[in-house]
Amino acid sequence: MKKLINAPGTVVSDALAGIAAAHPALRIDPDARIVTRAGEPEAGRVALVSGGGSGHEPLHTGFVGRGMLHAACPGEVFTSPVPDQILAAARAVHGGAGVVFVVKNYTGDVLNFEMAAELAGDDGIEVATVLVDDDVAVDAAGTAGRRGTGATVFVEKIAGALAETGAGLAAVAEAGRRVNAASRSFAVALTPCTTPAAGKPGFDLAPDEMEVGVGIHGEPGRSREKLKPASGIVSDALDAIFADRPLAEGDETIVMVNGLGGTPLIELYIAYADVARYFADRGIRIVRNLVGEYITSLEMAGVSFTVCQADEQMLALWDAPVDTPALRWGT
């Protein structure tokens, strides 16, 4: 295992120290293990809290800031945060108008956020949960349900922008749920990744193989296939996405081509060119896009694709200013 770390046991706390040093607009509580905006809580405003295992950076810590999250609570690598941590985050940013939990659909995340919501309720904090479950590689039947992956970025951006307008708890949560319902993702891995604790890769792949339908936790995917050119990977992924949620000519979408950690940007642009062609061939419009690393699996080489059918409200909120370490635009 070759990692730029000091010790497997201090990965998350060391990274939090780095985030604290790098971003003066964020506040890090190293004991509670939470990252919030400076100046929290802001009275009367709905707050967005998200979290999950570490190893997916910039998600979620990199999305804390104006127009997006109010707090993030990073767990150990690939391990959801504990309820106390989530509760501490909720308390730190609760401005009296309630808190939205953005939760990726994994058993661990769901249970820990549920427990935190109960504790927060005991504290008089109203919580609404947005469950993200966009990964079409997983059948909802006979499983723990679809995983939450790339759509999380869209949910956090759009719900975060709505919270910024002063909207109420129900409206902000509803906007997040609508984005999730309109979004689908699919991912392919070219190499495995190694958690600091395990010290060995989660699976082995031959030089001509890829794992198709992977999640973001270094686990194997739905199937192993022969490596294909970028255009083939793109069309397989988009076929899976559109089979699950067909789009019609003229539909408007936000599309993300996301690197899983070890794939260079030049390759993501190559994939995006193929995505653009695929959409153009079908007359479906990409009206906004993200190409880069937004939700990763440590150093895994690979790519995920997320498509969100966007309506006018979503696009307006997408375009609203955002000022976080990893996403920044507008005034």
Partner: protein
Amino acid sequence: MHMDIPLARAWIRTVAAAMEEHQEQLTQLDSAIGDADHGVNMHRGFSTVIAALDGLESTNVGDVLVKTGTILISSVGGASGPLYGTFFRAAGRQLTTPTTDAEHLLAALEAGLAGLQKLGGAVPGDKTMVDAIAPALAAFAAEVRTGGSVDLTAAAVEAAAAARRGMLATIPLQARKGRASYLGARSIGHQDPGATSAALVFQALADVLQAE
């Protein structure tokens, strides 16, 4: 044989030692069909627990188990933290006396399993920790309720053996809960990490009772 507070503490300490010893194995099992953290999770959780138990003033057996569960919830994260945490808390809440006999312990552990299943929604055959815990409690119950003698040690030994069989029986199963379920048929052929840690929990109980 009854379970008293020192024995309950010894049980949890033995579980912690087992999790430390098997950390690598649990993580590697989780690496095959999960996210390679179960060993670290269990080790982090139980080492936090034993540190906290040191300072705990307990007036009954349940205090030890409730505290164990509470600390697991606040230190593990992941799926296993809330699930094991709930198991120990729900079990502990039933044990309100300084010592407990086999029958009461069984009822308490059954309450623990019920809490765990209510939270996680898994049933036997889903390839989870339930596949070790449920047969363990069934074997325990067979000793306690139908056997002539009510020997806690014998019941725990039977329970540990059944947990182990249940753990091994997860190998051919296709997972329907937890991360392994994402793999579909590819989860078949791998032993469930949570069932493995659960077998360690019951083995530890048998071990401390036999050592008495």
